[in-house]
């Protein structure tokens, strides 16, 4: 296979390495060092895409991230990446790419008919129509618009690759490895500072890669940097945003240049960088000029044509013209001529300049005082019209297949702007440059308007040195810098050449100069309004080549200078970044860590079905073969507790050791009830309120010693309660001498509950007299359980005689097994969260669904727990009228009148058709089979005994329920005290 436009020598491609690739199904060949764009051009492919709205044929316009046109769907299947810029996609063997946003073939896209409709499809047309008939919008108009809009097609398959995140710290971060960045990194590195140099390209050098004469300097500099131990060179790394306090984000592409990532290699890595000082050396993007037909394939930025010739050894056209507005652009003509193209004309609006003279000397036809006033061709450029500057006439036609456009430079000020620096207008360069830094940041080289390699390098070296000094280092030795003659880059401001035909300011979103003027006419005259009305600079390129041109057209319409109009606000990202990279590693199964109790393996062995409780995994139930369904397992487990004995892992409860001389005083203030009167060796149920008087949490707290308490919290609130306690100690009562330690992980705990609980506990615990007198309900004592030091609590959540054994977590499995062994003769069964829930609903204990942040103690029937004397959190605001309003819903028990009819949490309670409450928890009962629940019901107590409706219209259910006391099971607590 041949590459007809590839030069025999020169550039940075490795002609010995042939890479095969395909575009729209056709096979081609390129070389290592190519981008997809350079390889396509080498093969003479010029039509690569269709525009957004009018589906106009488009070709490769740039050679970098600023590309508006050459967006392709890269790769296939699950790895398909829409909107990939061919100009930065590194070629690899087997690459396949498809053109996008076309109906039909790329060469014949029948959506191109939109171009004919353009007078009616101008900026904002959809806001003014599609309103009648109303129903048509949803069904007809909108689907049509949506299908027509959008660019590439996403794969609908899960992304097979994985991503990584990493953190970096440095003294000096240098962004961009052109002449300025390389010199900055070297100067900073020479001071001994820790330097990171990030470059989005796969090669370091920026514009130096187009300068064969400076290749030696580039190589020497890169080698010197590589040899510095504290300098880190990171190619393929795009710095995408500058955030507060010297933090920048970057994405490193580790495997995008390969067919797929090798084993153990992420596709990309997302970096968070904390830099003491930042040098921005991000170069500049070349500016388009808005003339009619400025979008035809074959119209290309001059610098890009030069890059294709010099860096990639590719001749982007055979007969070329250059539309230049400054001397710096002329090198493109020389480059493309060296590459073997014929220069048909150089069009320059200026009357004369040094470069124009040199060009004439070289034999080029230079048309001074001229502009390109139009283009000819269909899917490819065939010629241009050259008119006199300012005349408005179309002028002579010249046949060319490549038009190189050099409207001047747009410094890449994105990161500086994001860091907070205002932009300043540079009158000489007709462009915006970074203003005074707000953060510890400085710009160097082309990104602040310093053009020419020598000048940029010198600017970079100074910036790098200054940055290192600002970071606290002493200046290092100077390095040699490239000594080049700088051409004048001050462009003559030709923003627009007016004439018949569409002149684009945004090639991607098909925004024309007329659209901008229309926006102005309709009052969208501010740049931010004009942007939104026309979608100018809102495409994937964010207006890198034409943003300022649109501003200039608007400025003219407003009759004001461009400086006054300004640019739309820059935002992350400097270039679009892969979603997967930002997401990092913590996705899918690892979205959040799984928290496991020390009994996890034991439950697994017992066949537990798991459920999520926050980030914890907890056993829901333990199915047995004979269980018909999940409910059978749950009922069996609950029955075991009611009739014999069960064992349950309650390790997830939060546990806080509260110690110190003021511990009791402190607990009195954070709990609504009193703890200072609690004797050592006893536990008490505690109720904690938020300051607004709403119930926050509940749990048992035990007094282990005169100044030592062991507080337990609900699983969900363990963290918030700890923080609540710490906050009040620090802010409200700093005088209290109390220390808090989270011991949730240290202590595992199991509940052993049921009529036979005492027998089981007695069989494994030493050192405690378990008789009811010696160890009554709410007693606590240290003990030895199954040979390990443990703590025994006589507390019950199920309503049965019950104990909790807490032991150091590493011993929990052993204790559990011992309990199972001892309990075997008593018919012990492990029970999970579902049975636990069932038991507590039967007993009328509140849990998370009742303590939902909306209920007061009074609502829950716990009002009498609030102490009458002394301050405590929530005391005052709990007295507000709305909180004590007797019409507030109160906790009630519920029972389905027909025991077979299920009631559900989330159903509402209707009394005479009026919504009077809702069901908080529901279950089947084992004590009195049938469906029961807890709920919040207005005038709940008064309604006990009545029958109301549990309405669940979402599921088409309406179930009569009887209102009962929430404490239906053993209301006198005889069992737990037995």
């Amino acid at each position: 296979m041949t590459q007809p436009h590839r030069l025999a020598t020169g550039g940075h491609v490795d002609r010995a390495t042939r890479l095969s690739f395909s575009f729209d199904g056709r096979r081609y060949e390129g070389h290592a060092g190519d981008t997809l764009a350079s390889a396509l051009l080498a093969n003479g492919v010029r039509l690569v895409g269709r525009s957004f709205k009018y589906h106009r044929p488009r070709g490769i316009f740039s050679a970098g991230v600023e590309e508006p046109n050459a967006l392709v769907e890269l790769r296939e299947g699950a790895r398909r990446e829409p909107n990939t810029r061919a100009t930065v996609a590194e070629l690899f063997d087997g690459l396949s790419a498809t053109s996008q946003n076309r109906r039909g073939s790329l060469a014949f896209d029948w959506m191109a008919v939109n171009g004919l409709l353009s007078p009616w499809l101008g900026a904002g047309f959809y806001y003014k129509t599609f309103m009648w008939p109303a129903a048509f919008w949803e069904r007809v108009y909108e689907p049509m618009i949506r299908k027509a809009a959008g660019l590439g097609r996403a794969s609908r398959l899960p992304d097979p690759d994985h991503y990584d995140a990493a953190h970096a710290h440095c003294d000096v971060l240098v962004v961009g490895a052109g002449a300025a960045g390389l010199a900055a990194a070297r100067a900073a590195g020479a001071t001994g500072a820790r330097v990171i140099l990030m470059e989005q390209d796969f090669m370091l050098g920026g514009d130096l890669l187009n300068e064969p004469g400076l290749e030696a300097w580039r190589r020497e500099t890169v080698a010197a940097l590589a040899a510095m131990p504290e300098v880190t060179l990171m190619p393929r790394s795009t710095v995408f945003g500058f955030y507060d306090q010297g933090v920048l984000g970057a994405v490193e592409r580790l495997a995008d240049h390969l067919a797929e990532p090798p084993p153990h290699t992420p596709r990309q890595r997302y970096w968070t960088i904390r830099a003491k000082e930042v040098v921005l050396a991000t170069g500049a993007h070349e500016r388009l000029i808005a003339f009619p037909g400025n979008d035809r394939p074959g119209v290309m930025l001059a610098g890009a044509a030069r890059t294709y010739a010099r860096r990639y050894g590719v001749r982007a056209g055979e007969t070329a013209a250059l539309f230049a507005t400054h001397d710096g652009a002329y090198d493109a003509a020389f480059a493309i001529a060296e590459a073997g193209a014929r220069i048909a004309a150089i069009i320059d609006p200026r009357s004369d300049s040094a470069a124009m003279q040199r060009a004439r000397e070289a034999g080029f036809s230079v048309k001074a005082g001229s502009v390109v006033s139009g283009t000819m061709g269909g899917n490819a450029l065939r010629g241009i019209a050259i008119g006199a500057q300012g005349s408005g006439a179309r002028g002579d036609a010249v046949p060319v297949d490549l038009l190189m456009v050099a409207g001047g430079w747009n410094p890449a000020v994105h990161l500086a702007s994001m860091s907070g620096a205002a932009l300043a207008w540079d009158e000489a360069l007709h462009t915006f440059v970074p203003g005074t830094p707000v953060q510890r940041e400085r710009s160097a080289g082309a990104c602040r308007g310093v053009n020419g390699i020598g000048a940029a390098a010198a600017d970079g070296a100074a910036a790098g040195r200054d940055a290192a000094i600002a970071a606290g280092f002493a200046a290092g030795p100077d390095n040699t810098l490239p000594d080049t003659l700088a051409a004048d880059h001050c462009s003559y401001p030709v923003w627009e050449v007016k004439g018949r035909g569409k002149a684009f300011v945004d090639l991607q979103d098909d925004v024309t100069t007329n659209d901008i003027r229309l926006a102005h006419r309709e009052g969208f005259s501010h740049i931010e309004h004009a942007k939104r009305y026309t979608t100018h600079a809102m495409g994937t390129d964010q207006g890198k080549t034409g943003g300022i041109v649109g501003a200039a057209v608007l400025a003219e319409a407003r009759g004001e200078p461009v400086a006054k109009v300004g640019l739309p606000r820059f935002r992350p990202y400097t270039a679009p970044i892969a979603w997967g990279a930002m997401a990092g590693q913590e996705v899918g199964k690892h979205f959040q860590p799984v928290r496991r109790t020390s009994l996890h393996a034991v439950h697994d062995a017992a066949g537990a079905v798991w459920m999520d409780a926050g980030i914890w995994k907890r056993p829901a139930y333990y199915p047995k073969r004979e269980d018909a369904d999940a409910w059978a397992s749950v009922l069996r487990e609950a029955r075991a507790v009611r009739q014999r004995v069960g064992i349950c892992d309650v390790s997830t409860l939060g546990k806080i050791a509260v110690e110190g001389p003021d511990a009791a005083t402190f607990l009195d203030r954070v709990y609504a009830n009193t703890f200072s009167t609690l004797p050592v060796g006893r536990a008490r149920y505690g109720l904690m309120l938020r300051e607004d008087g709403i119930v926050f949490d509940d749990g048992t707290t035990s007094r282990i010693g005169p100044e030592r308490f062991f507080v337990t919290t609900t699983t969900a609130q363990a963290g918030p309660v700890m923080q609540h306690l710490e906050f009040h100690l620090a802010s409200a009562w700093p005088d209290l001498d109390v220390s808090l330690a989270s011991v949730t992980d240290q202590w595992a705990a199991v509940a052993i509950a049921g009529p036979k609980a005492r027998e089981v506990v007695a069989g494994m615990v030493e050192g405690i007299d378990l008789s009811n007198d010696a160890f009554p309900f709410m007693a606590v004592a240290d003990c030895i359980a199954a040979g390990v030091p443990a703590r025994l609590f006589r507390i019950s959540f199920s309503g049965e005689l019950a104990y909790e054994v807490a032991m150091p977590a590493g011993h929990a499995a052993h204790v559990w097994r011992a309990a199972m062994q001892v309990g075997a003769t008593h018919g012990i069964e492990p029970y999970g969260m579902e049975a636990l829930g069932l038991l507590r609903i039967e007993k009328g204990h509140v849990a998370g669904s009742e303590l939902n942040g909306q209920t007061t103690a009074h609502d829950l029937g716990l009002g009498r727990m609030l102490k009458k004397k002394g301050d405590f959190i929530g005391r005052v605001l709990a007295q507000r009228p709305g909180m004590t309003d007797p019409s507030r819903p109160r906790l009630v028990g519920l029972r389905s009148v027909d025991p077979r009819r299920q009631i559900r949490a989330g159903a509402h309670l209707l009394v005479d058709g009026r919504d009077q409450g809702w069901i908080t928890s529901a279950t089947q009962s084992v004590v009195d089979p049938g469906w029961i629940g807890l709920g919040m019901l207005r005038e709940g107590e008064a309604r006990i005994g009545s029958t109301i409706l549990a309405a669940n219209p979402l599921m088409g259910e309406e179930v009569p329920v009887r209102v009962v006391s929430p404490h239906g099971y053993d209301p006198e607590n005889r069992l737990v005290r037995a």
Binding site: H264, R274, R596, A657, D745, A809
Partner: protein, 194 residues
């Protein structure tokens, strides 16, 4: 019944062997068995506490962000007036409780915390995939400690030597996902689990 060996939270997953690539300098990972005791000094008793620390453990309380080793016990600063004592057992918690009566609250956390040692030239780069601290030699080093988050999991990190070796102490109930992250982060270089 006699007290059995405690079950290590990572017993099931941290089986010895190589994970990931067979790199030249894989990360070495081991699980030292430690007793870990949290000590919180009482208000106004700092000096008496320091004296007691000196008397019982032969060292001063470490400064913020630092560790100090006194014989077999290492003290790690974890919070204002708070330290973690770690060392081979048994009985460290009892020793500390005795030493600090009236001076500090002492909580045994030996089961509540799990320590993982990572070591080798790749250690810093691997940790940087989840640790937000600057572990460069100029910013950190042996004898330095920090409470932080690694891969969004709370972690007490301290550097032991220049190999470099780091000890990572995490909540035991989160040790498994933490370990998973570590192995995943190190898989490019390879991880050798001792």
């Amino acid at each position: 019944m006699s007290a059995p060996e405690a079950t290590h939270p990572l017993a099931a997953v941290a089986t010895p062997g190589l994970r990931g690539a067979a790199g030249v300098a894989p990360l070495r990972v081991s699980l030292p068995v430690r007793e870990t005791v949290q000590v919180m000094v009482r208000r106004g008793r700092e000096e008496a506490f320091a004296a007691a620390m000196e008397a019982s453990f032969g060292m001063a309380p470490p400064a913020p962000g630092h560790t100090l080793a006194g014989g077999a016990v290492t003290a790690i600063w974890i919070q204002p007036g708070g330290f973690m004592l770690t060392g081979a057992g048994p009985g460290l918690a009892e020793r500390a409780a005795l030493a600090f009566v009236g001076l500090a609250a002492v909580e045994d956390q030996s089961h509540g915390r799990t320590t993982i040692t990572v070591s080798g030239p790749a250690a810093r780069a691997v940790l940087a995939r989840g640790c937000r601290l600057d572990l460069h030699t100029r910013a950190f080093g042996p004898g330095r400690a920090a409470m932080t988050q690694i891969a969004h999991i709370g972690c007490l990190l301290h550097q032991v030597d220049d190999a470099p070796s780091f000890e990572l102490t995490v909540f035991s109930t989160l040790a498994e996902p933490f370990f998973h992250w570590l192995v995943e982060a190190g898989s490019g270089d390879g991880v050798v689990i001792a």
